[in-house]
């Protein structure tokens, strides 16, 4: 037990004298003797006064809406009970999306954050809307009368109605302008698209149409632009059919979620992104018969074999390949466009005619705004969906600029870093309480509707903007008007607008792209004529940058690479305990960030995991615990953004270190790596709250992998071990799960979904350090030993519901028994907490309630306040201290599915019942079904040659099985 752990000491010591003990025992006996005369607590039942027709207490109502956890705008279906949302699912009606990411899953909890502002503030003091409006209107009037600049600074907004409203402001208010600020920006990609194709937007990518995918520092499965959509597309291409299976190369500095899934991952410092792109262009252009001049040392430090293999594969699959880059260097992005254009990908896998609207940040405009603010030229500033005093690289400069603005307004939902320094805070609704719309990809629309009436005295930001523009209507009617005039005419199925509106609201989505646009092939976009000269000059620029950079690289310093984590993203969700406790898919670290170093660098510095390292960049110094990451690019360290929030709330405040100051700006354009870093060991140690420290399978076939070539060879049939136990008499159904390891990317959305569905508690950093995290489902990450080319495989691990369960035979009170339909049941009220079952489980999937996690000040998370408890699923018990819990295979959903079938007087059909993990998975990796029904998907997958069960040799006979992971590579290639 490490002595650095602080023990919580809030409770008084229990009186331990013998006399008191006897007194209490005596009292207990007497009290129980009297119970026959008295009842338990009297319970009240309070029905509606006037029940809404569509609500039946006890039956869920579902509403379609759109997620606002990030700017991707995934289509959602929200489950509400008794008028409040409790669970978020993906909306299958959408042609783009399906499932959600971990952040989207957790966003239902941020609705019930007790630290949201309860109403507007004027100069830090609570005020009424009337008072705040009066102040703002008066001051705005003065600013307008004086002819001064008014700026609306927002995050990416894809909502067409909101953009129309902002356009109205621009048209009607002189010197008003809208600036878009993304904390993690793709502005260079937008500029490159504009230069090449005349459209200033991020293109819409189609990974499902690509047989060869090359990612250059782009975490498209985790956090880049539209990860849910990309994951679904990518997974479709990973079915192990030799004719269609995609091949994925990833060039990156740190190990990302996407990189850990690649067939061939090459560790390359972020500063060499341009060189990688140029090297690929050089090869592909040569094959295409076009000469591109490159400096002789262009490929120094990059695996040439990988470049050649990638270029060959790309060329072989031209027209069905894709190169993407997260670079913030415009020249590099133009080079990438050149590659895609030479490969005939533009118009197929890269769609610029129906571009994405999910990233619109304009870095140069933001930089210009900060300059203007510091000159005192901006007299009114409204901040919507942004927090620059946290995530702008030079927060001090932004703060100074903010001081000179006469009127500053924030629409933030809490007193965050920026809202604490503005004049008026006009808190916006949470997206689950609001009317809104979205257009994630041009011509693909979706609607947002409230799933609960606004809980606090908040007002939609758009309603505030309408009010101050002296318009009479509210945003709901504004959206309807917009749709009536702009969206409704795009279709011809419905004649009356109201019929179209009702249908759109029901479906949640309306896709106006024609079938021709959505399906596979179409006319290639003709690049602008200037494109050809453009990419040649871009190639020269990249080459020039590379030559200049070589000098810096030779100086012997390190390079810091910055990235968003899957859970916290840019830090906006820092106060969400589910996300803070979600183990990072790659490092498995919770409650904080670290500086990821390669083992070689760690040896140079004489540090091991947990030793605090000082990272020095110019005047900035950061201290973070080190994490040894095999596969980290040489002389590069990776640090996650989104941590170190000062004013997120009780949960997220001061967790981790803020690394945004390491973001560099080149003529305003922000880049997410910094060269010239000095690293120093501090000598201190800070334990990393990680849920998995050991990443080796120790030679056991826990995750089976094979290559596409080897797949044809029949695996030996698993020998059925003789069993001491009699064959169990089954019932009508036998529920089982099959998990396709080819589809699973490790994104961990299922972990959060399970937590939301099953009321799994949050335990906090100290308890995670003791290994007591309560997640029923975990994603195990196994890495091979190679330091240079580690291969990572992931495996979702939950209760395997074994037919010969080792846990069932050792429970002294029979609290865990096997049901007639194949589930291993955990009966909480019978459990006495022996923990023998946990000991005996070979998969270590059982979690013990060491404390009362609900209504306990020691665990002051969502279960400790009445608002946070509103998220609890009423169909699942909240377990108390001293009982064991584990995956129940969503028995409440099984029951509900069977009941629904009975109500309709039929047998449950395959697909009726979906476990929470299955329903949320964007990659459709988990399949639940009746193994007794030979036609069910699960039973069919079970008969596949790839099917295997973990630790089968122990004779547990699990009902959960996996499909061998197949990588698309030959055995001679490294990972």
């Amino acid at each position: 037990m490490s002595s650095s752990l602080t023990f919580w000491s809030g409770r008084d010591e229990v009186d331990a004298s013998r006399r008191d003990f006897l007194t209490r025992v005596g009292f207990a006996v007497a009290a129980s003797a009297l119970t026959g005369c008295s009842r338990g607590v009297v319970q009240k039942a309070i029905p509606y006064l006037n029940k809404p027709e569509e609500i039946t207490p006890g039956v869920a109502a579902w509403y379609a809406t759109t997620c606002a956890g990030c700017a991707a705008g995934c289509a959602l279906l929200v489950k509400t009970r008794d008028g409040r949302p409790i669970k978020i699912e993906g909306n299958d009606e959408s042609r783009l999306f399906g499932g959600t990411c971990a952040t989207g899953q957790a966003s239902v909890l941020s609705l019930y954050d007790a630290e949201r502002l309860k109403g507007p503030l004027w100069k830090g003091e609570p005020a009424t809307w009337a008072e705040v409006d009066a102040q703002i209107e008066q001051r705005l009037g003065a600013v307008i009368a004086g002819g001064h600049a008014i700026v609306l600074l927002t995050g990416t907004i894809s909502s067409p109605s909101t953009r129309a409203l902002i356009a109205e402001w621009t048209a009607r208010v002189p010197r008003f302008r809208h600036v878009v600020y993304d904390a993690v920006s793709s502005s260079a990609l937008m500029r490159a698209t504009e230069a090449c194709f005349g459209i200033r937007a991020v293109p819409h990518y189609r990974f499902d149409l690509a047989a060869t995918i090359v990612g250059i520092e782009a975490d498209f499965l985790g956090t880049w632009i539209s990860p849910v959509e990309f994951t679904r597309q990518y997974a479709r291409g990973r079915r192990p059919d030799p004719r269609t299976m995609s091949r994925h190369y990833q060039f990156e500095a740190g190990v990302s979620l996407t990189g850990s899934n690649a067939d061939w991952r090459v560790a390359v410092p972020a500063s060499l992104q341009g060189a990688v792109a140029l090297a690929l262009l050089h090869r592909i252009a040569a094959t295409a018969g076009v000469a591109v001049d490159v400096p002789p040392d262009l490929e120094a430090g990059i695996d040439a074999r990988a470049l050649t293999a990638a270029a060959d594969d790309l060329w072989r699959h031209r027209g069905a390949s894709l190169v993407v880059s997260g670079s913030q260097d415009m020249a590099t992005q133009v080079v990438v466009y050149a590659i895609n254009a030479l490969l005939d990908n533009v118009g197929v896998t890269v769609d610029v005619e129906s571009p994405s609207l999910q990233k619109q940040g304009d870095d140069e405009a933001v930089a210009q705004l900060v300059d203007e603010m510091n000159r005192g030229d901006v007299h009114a500033l409204m901040l919507y969906g942004v927090n620059p005093l946290y995530d702008y690289p030079d927060t001090a400069r932004f703060a100074r600029g903010l001081e000179s603005v006469a009127l500053t307004i924030s629409f933030a939902d809490r007193l965050d870093e920026t809202a604490a320094r503005v004049h008026a805070v006009c808190p916006d609704h949470h997206f689950l309480e609001a009317w809104n719309d979205a257009e994630p990809v041009a011509s693909s629309f979706s609607l947002s509707q409230p799933t609960i009436a606004p809980m606090l005295d908040t007002r939609a930001a758009q309603d505030s903007l309408l009010k101050w523009l002296a318009k009479e209507n509210d945003f709901y009617s504004y959206i309807r008007d917009y749709w009536r005039h702009n969206v409704f005419p795009l279709q011809s199925t419905f004649a009356p607008f109201d019929a179209f509106w009702d249908r759109a609201l029901h479906d949640g989505v309306f896709d106006a792209r024609t079938a021709r646009e959505v399906s596979a092939r179409r006319d290639r976009s003709k690049p602008a004529a200037r494109f050809v000269e453009l990419w040649k000059s871009a190639a020269d620029t990249v080459a020039g940058q590379h030559e200049r950079g070589s000098v810096a690289r030779a100086a012997g310093r390190y390079e810091a690479h910055l990235f968003e984590t899957v859970a916290l993203r840019d830090g906006r969700h820092a106060n969400n305990p589910w996300l803070q406790e979600l183990p990072d898919p790659v490092t498995k670290i919770t409650w904080g960030n670290c500086v990821a170093l390669s083992p070689a660098v760690a040896r140079d510095l004489h540090v091991s995991s947990g030793d605090v390292v000082r990272v020095m960049a110019g005047h900035d110094t950061f201290e973070l615990p080190a994490y040894l990451q095999a596969g980290q690019a040489a002389r590069t360290v990776s640090i996650a953004l989104g941590y170190g929030r000062e004013r997120a709330g009780k949960v997220g405040g001061r967790v981790g270190t803020n690394a945004f100051a390491l973001v560099t700006a080149d003529l305003g354009v922000r880049r997410y790596f910094r060269e010239g870093i000095v690293l120093e060991k501090t000598g201190r140690h800070e334990a990393l709250a990680t849920t998995q420290e050991h990443h080796s399978m120790e030679g056991r076939p826990i995750v089976k992998t094979t290559s596409l070539a080897d797949l044809a060879i029949e695996p030996p049939a698993p020998s059925e071990m003789p069993s001491l136990w009699a064959e169990r008499e089954g019932g009508e159904h036998r529920w089982g799960l099959v998990i396709d390891l080819n589809s699973c990317t490790g994104c961990s959305a299922c972990v959060t979904a399970c937590q939301a569905e099953n009321n799994v508690p949050v335990v906090g950093r100290d308890e995670v350090l003791r290994g007591r995290e309560m997640h029923w489902l975990r994603i195990d990450a196994y890495t091979t030993d190679s330091e240079e080319h580690p291969e990572t495989v992931v495996q979702p691990m939950m209760c395997q519901h074994c037919e010969n369960a080792p846990c069932e035979s050792v429970c002294p009170v029979l609290a865990t028994v096997h049901s007639s339909d194949g589930l291993n049941q955990q009966i909480y009220n019978r459990c006495v907490g022996t923990r023998y079952c946990e000991n005996n489980c070979p998969y270590k999937v059982r979690r013990f309630n060491w404390f009362e996690y609900a209504q306990n000040d020691r665990f002051d998370f969502n279960m400790n306040n009445p608002v946070g408890r509103m998220v609890l699923n009423p169909d699942v018990v909240v377990r108390s201290r001293g009982v064991m819990e584990k995956c129940s295979m969503c028995v409440q959903r099984v029951q509900a599915g069977k009941l629904l079938a009975r109500q309709e007087d039929r047998a449950p059909a395959d697909g009726d019942i979906k476990t929470a993990c299955q329903q949320v998975c964007p990659a459709e990796a988990i399949v639940f079904g009746d193994l007794n029904d030979p036609r069910s998907r699960a039973a069919t997958m079970r008969r596949s040659g790839r099917y295997y069960r973990v630790l089968d040799e122990l004779g547990t006979k699990p009902n959960v099985g996996y499909l061998t992971k197949v990588r698309n590579r030959t055995t001679s290639e490294p990972g």
């Binding site: 129980s32 006037n50 207490p57 129940s888 009975r902």
Partner: protein, 179 residues
Amino acid sequence: MRWRVLVAAALVACGALTGLLAHALSRVGNNQGYAPEQPIAFSHKLHAGDARVPCLYCHFGATTSRHAGIPPVNVCMNCHGLLKKQTRDIERLKELVERAQPIAWVKVHNLPDFVYFNHSQHVISGVECQSCHGRVETMVRVTQQAPLTMGWCIQCHRSHQTVDAHTPAANLDCGKCHY
């Protein structure tokens, strides 16, 4: 010999006390006979008995939801908004409606939190309301007729193991009710 009498008396007293304790402890959680006073003296005998209002008219949740539900006040007002005859309780009902104050009924049939009971599963399987709730149509004040202990539930489940093609056997798995 006096001390022998004392010992015997003490033993008898202990025995009686143990017996009382055992009886009391065995009744923990068993609320059979519970008939609390309600905020409005609603008589099932009058409505379900004399007026022959079907159970499912008011307790409509029983076929679709886990809760049969105490009817919302608008169901009461369906009739009592129109009927001429007014009693003191109906006046109180109307007053509550005017003040928009929901009625806090005292729940008679309570199951502990670790039990999951779903009305619709039982109702669509053909279990009559009276099987568990007794002859409610004769009750002026609702009384809990059945013990509602696990043993009592299991007894009925055990006797319904073979049924017709439409109705599945009553399940005896622990996890069907305890999850």
